[in-house]
């Protein structure tokens, strides 16, 4: 699903965020991306999301070389990816329903289809009864679940989460992780960037560890 071939990213000014990273994430896998802050987790996700471009090397997402993609094609590739952000990035002037429906509207689904899919996604994260509320009235955990519903609503092949539990207590964090596991079970590839080592160690999934922009370790946490 995701393949990095000798990827380096150097920001203007000379700081090398990633050096010579090669890794692969199989279709249908769930993996954690970890490392101290500044290790390059965010940069790696940004490269997959085509927010940043690699200085060297090649990145493949679903078989497509995204390091070579034209700007016009980027939106269409991004629709294959569901993004979950630490600060949720919800739009606060719209209802929960409208937030979740946005990816479907962008993709041009029919009206009935938008309603059906958005409600299905809200149901999966247990917020169907709150669709008419505005995000500001929800708790942090609920806001994050809205963010997850929005990320999965158009059935992406890949879920990218950047510190999804960063602002949540352990109880809620586990709840969110269970949601990710649930989506993974139906075939979605999931990559979660997190520095919550305790939480990662409780779960038996592959871990990609970065250190100062280098790949330190890739495999099971327990191994």
């Amino acid at each position: 699903m995701i393949r990095f071939d000798n990827v380096s990213k150097r920001y203007p000014g000379g700081f090398e965020a990633l050096s010579n990273i090669s890794l692969q994430l199989e279709r249908g896998a769930l993996a954690f991306l970890t490392g101290h802050s500044g290790a390059g987790k965010s940069t790696l996700l940004k490269l997959i999301a085509m927010v940043e471009r690699a200085t060297r090397g090649q990145i493949f997402v679903d078989g497509q070389n995204v390091s070579r993609i034209s700007r016009r094609r980027i939106p269409y590739i991004r629709r294959k990816i569901g993004f979950i952000f630490q600060n949720h990035n919800l739009l606060f002037d719209r209802t929960v329903f409208d937030n979740v429906a946005l990816p479907l509207i962008i993709a041009g689904y029919r009206h009935q289809e938008v309603g059906r899919r958005a409600r299905a996604a809200l149901d999966k994260v247990g917020l169907l009864d709150k669709e008419r509320l505005y995000p500001i009235t929800l708790s942090g955990g609920e806001q994050q679940r809205v963010g997850i519903a929005r990320a999965v609503v158009n059935k992406p092949l890949l879920l990218l989460a950047d510190e999804p539990t960063g602002n949540l207590d352990p109880e809620l964090s586990r709840e969110i992780m269970n949601l990710f596991a649930l989506f993974n079970q139906v075939g979605v590839t999931v990559l979660i960037a997190s520095h919550d080592v305790t939480l990662i160690q409780q779960l038996d999934y592959p871990v990609i560890t970065l250190d100062h922009g280098r790949l330190l370790h890739s495999g099971r946490a327990s191994a």
């Binding site: 991004r78 041009g108 009206h111």
Partner: protein, 328 residues
């Protein structure tokens, strides 16, 4: 049906292509209507600032519209002048009153003539006598020196300077006629002034159109800045540039349309305020002239140019500022 479903499923993996295909025309139109409505709703929710912007646009648009209408009215005034366009035809002194009456009858039958009034020397003398001071002078005269005068009114379609001039030439060709005087100079001067004013209005219109463009552009620029975060998020979840551009373009169109509406109101009210005094003035000149208010045609032009300027203004702003906003 079944094959279509299979095809659709097969194409799930060719995303960009299938997405474009899924966007049927009906869905597309519905989306546009929705975005247009949303943009209007957004203007309504920030109604104070929307109202101020719209008022500025309305004032800017009302100037050219009002001035054009004023010119149009003046044009009509000089074009028709209610039969006031007349030729004073002085006959030669040797022409008798009976011969003059026959001539008047002949002229009356010309197709381009609306009417002929004959003023006999005696009538003219009496009229002169009514002016203070003339009576004594005229009394000293042994005989009436005045010729017969025919007051000729051109018919409809022959009152403009060009035709009236031609008519004047025609009279000069008649042997009985000493002098045919066209009371036209003021009309020609007015026409020249109107030409100049029209040029001025064109220049002012162009400047005000530029002002509308800048006002809309700046308003949209501010709106883009206010919604920066939203733009970033929508780009991250796969919105194309045209998807993001659309609501701003519709906002621009709405500003233009609403501005044109306000301009129409301003013009209507101003002309309504002017109508009374104008009628009074026209009455003093024994004219039935009445101000013509904004015709439907001009209203459509106003709405059309308003929305076009709004669209263009927002397009410029969007083109300049939207591409600068990328997720980081």
């Amino acid at each position: 049906m079944k094959r279509a479903r299979i095809n659709r499923r097969r194409s799930e993996h060719h995303w960009s292509k299938s997405l474009r295909r899924r966007l049927s025309l009906r869905t597309w139109l519905l989306r546009h209507a929705q975005v247009a409505f949303d943009s209007l709703g957004r203007l309504y929710r920030n109604w104070v600032s929307s109202l101020m912007t719209t008022a500025v646009l309305g004032i800017a648009l009302s100037m050219p519209a009002g001035m054009y209408l004023l010119l149009d009215n003046l044009d009509r005034l000089s074009g028709s002048w209610d039969g006031q366009a007349s030729l004073s035809v002085f006959l030669k002194p040797r022409v008798s009153e009976t011969a003059a009456a026959t001539l008047a009858e002949t002229i009356r039958n010309w197709p381009e003539i609306a009417g002929v009034t004959m003023v006999t020397p005696a009538e003219a003398l009496e009229e002169f006598g009514q002016h203070a001071g003339f009576a004594d002078v005229l009394g000293a005269l042994e005989e009436n020196p005045l010729p017969v005068v025919l007051l000729v009114t051109p018919g409809p379609g022959h009152g403009d300077p060009q035709s009236a001039s031609e008519l004047q030439q025609k009279f000069r060709g008649l042997p009985e006629i000493e002098l045919a005087q066209l009371d036209l100079q003021w009309v020609q001067r007015l026409a020249a002034m109107l030409d100049m004013a029209r040029r001025g209005v064109a220049v002012i219109s162009a400047l005000l159109a530029l002002a509308v463009l800048l006002v809309v552009g700046n308003t949209i620029r501010l709106e883009i800045q206010n919604r920066r975060e939203e733009i970033v998020v929508t780009k991250l979840i796969g919105a194309t540039n045209s998807f993001i551009r659309r609501p701003f373009l519709y906002s621009g169109i709405w500003y233009g349309v609403l501005g044109a509406g306000v301009a129409w109101l301003i013009v209507e009210i101003s002309f309504w305020l002017l109508a009374g005094p104008v009628q009074h003035l026209a009455g003093l000149y024994q004219s039935h002239f009445a101000l013509q208010t904004l015709p439907l045609q001009l209203l459509l032009v106003l709405l059309g140019s308003g929305s076009a300027l709004g669209l263009l203004g927002s397009w410029l702003a969007v083109g300049r500022h939207l591409s600068a906003i990328e997720p980081s």
